[in-house]
Amino acid sequence: MEVVGQLQKQYVDFITSLFREAYLDDQYVQLQKLQDDSNPEFVVEVVSIFFEDSEKLLNDLASSLLVSISLFWVFILCLRPSLLLMVVLFFLLFLFQLYSQQQVVDFKKVDGYVHQFKGSSSSVGAQRVKNACVTLRNFCEEKNLDGCSRYLNLVKQEFYLVKNKLETLLRMEQQILQAGGTVPLLEQVPLLWKQ
């Protein structure tokens, strides 16, 4: 049983640090409360669905911000210009994009994806991802393509970070269960860390 005690302590320390660093918020605890003997895999199931859905959303987001560039290039390459003409066209395209990006990207579509991502991350308690999505949405509203691209990278980063943390957390839970113990439930996220 000493093994179980040690595993449980490590688990509590780890999950406490995740709350403190805002990777997770109280919603994660709510998910744990919904898990019981009749639904022993609930958290793993929800988190897995979240991972899968998020990868899709991130792909959709990345491609919806890229489409402006690729379409123009397809068009130019179809003209089969000489090398000199291609250089000139490239330069003009570069200038054109610089000044008209706002009209080319469908910010409403991007905003739609971010809204979805904000919702799903909020539903699993992935606080940092959710907050990054909120900022990303502001850039979308301002039609700020540069801001959007930068923040999309941040959102992606935060997602992969929390994915990593959650995988570790769930693995620790498994270890406790396999050692014959029960997973300690943090009844309440300390007020200090609540938003």
């Binding site: 709510q30 919904l34 639904n39 199931e45 929800v46 669905i49 919702g119 799903s120 539903s123």
Partner: protein, 154 residues
């Protein structure tokens, strides 16, 4: 409307509507912990289909349909809980169609939304929504459904 020999154990049947796969999983679990029978669909159109409010012949919404579509769908739904922002038919549209339907207007409807907008809340409540829940929906929110369900059975 109830057939003879209905078991005393008959659970309330809740129809949940949400386009988010994560939220569908969550609301289904929340409702099941309250021992409700749950049907979850991913869109307003699927919800209308399930409720028998879609005219089978040409897919248009027929809110005053009588026996034809009613016999086709004998499902008894005691409450509808729907997300507000959905592509296609929004939760608000769904609310409106249910309240304008002669056969289904007494079914309590609850709206869920991630946006805390007073104007949105007010327009939903004015249209006849019983409750407006802010996402992520909590167990304490789901506990508020029971009085509306019990009132329906009275």
């Amino acid at each position: 409307m109830a057939k003879g020999g209905v078991s005393l154990e008959t659970k309330f049947h809740v129809l949940a509507v949400d386009d988010s796969i994560v939220d569908r999983k969550l609301i289904e679990r929340l409702l099941k912990t309250s021992s409700y029978q749950v049907t979850v669909v991913e869109s307003g159109v699927k919800a209308l289909e399930f409720l028998g409010l879609l005219d089978d012949k040409n897919g248009s919404i027929d809110s005053t349909s009588h026996s034809a579509t009613q016999n086709h769908h004998q499902v008894q739904v005691n409450l509808v809980i729907t997300d507000y922002s959905m592509p296609g038919i929004t939760g608000y549209d769904l609310l409106r169609k249910i309240k304008e339907s002669t056969s289904l207007k007494n079914i309590p409807v609850v709206i869920m939304s991630s946006e805390d907008l007073p104007s949105r809340i007010n327009s939903c409540l004015e249209k006849g929504a019983e409750e407006f829940f802010l996402k992520p929906v909590q167990q304490s929110d789901v506990n508020k459904l029971r009085p509306h369900l019990l009132r329906g059975k009275a």
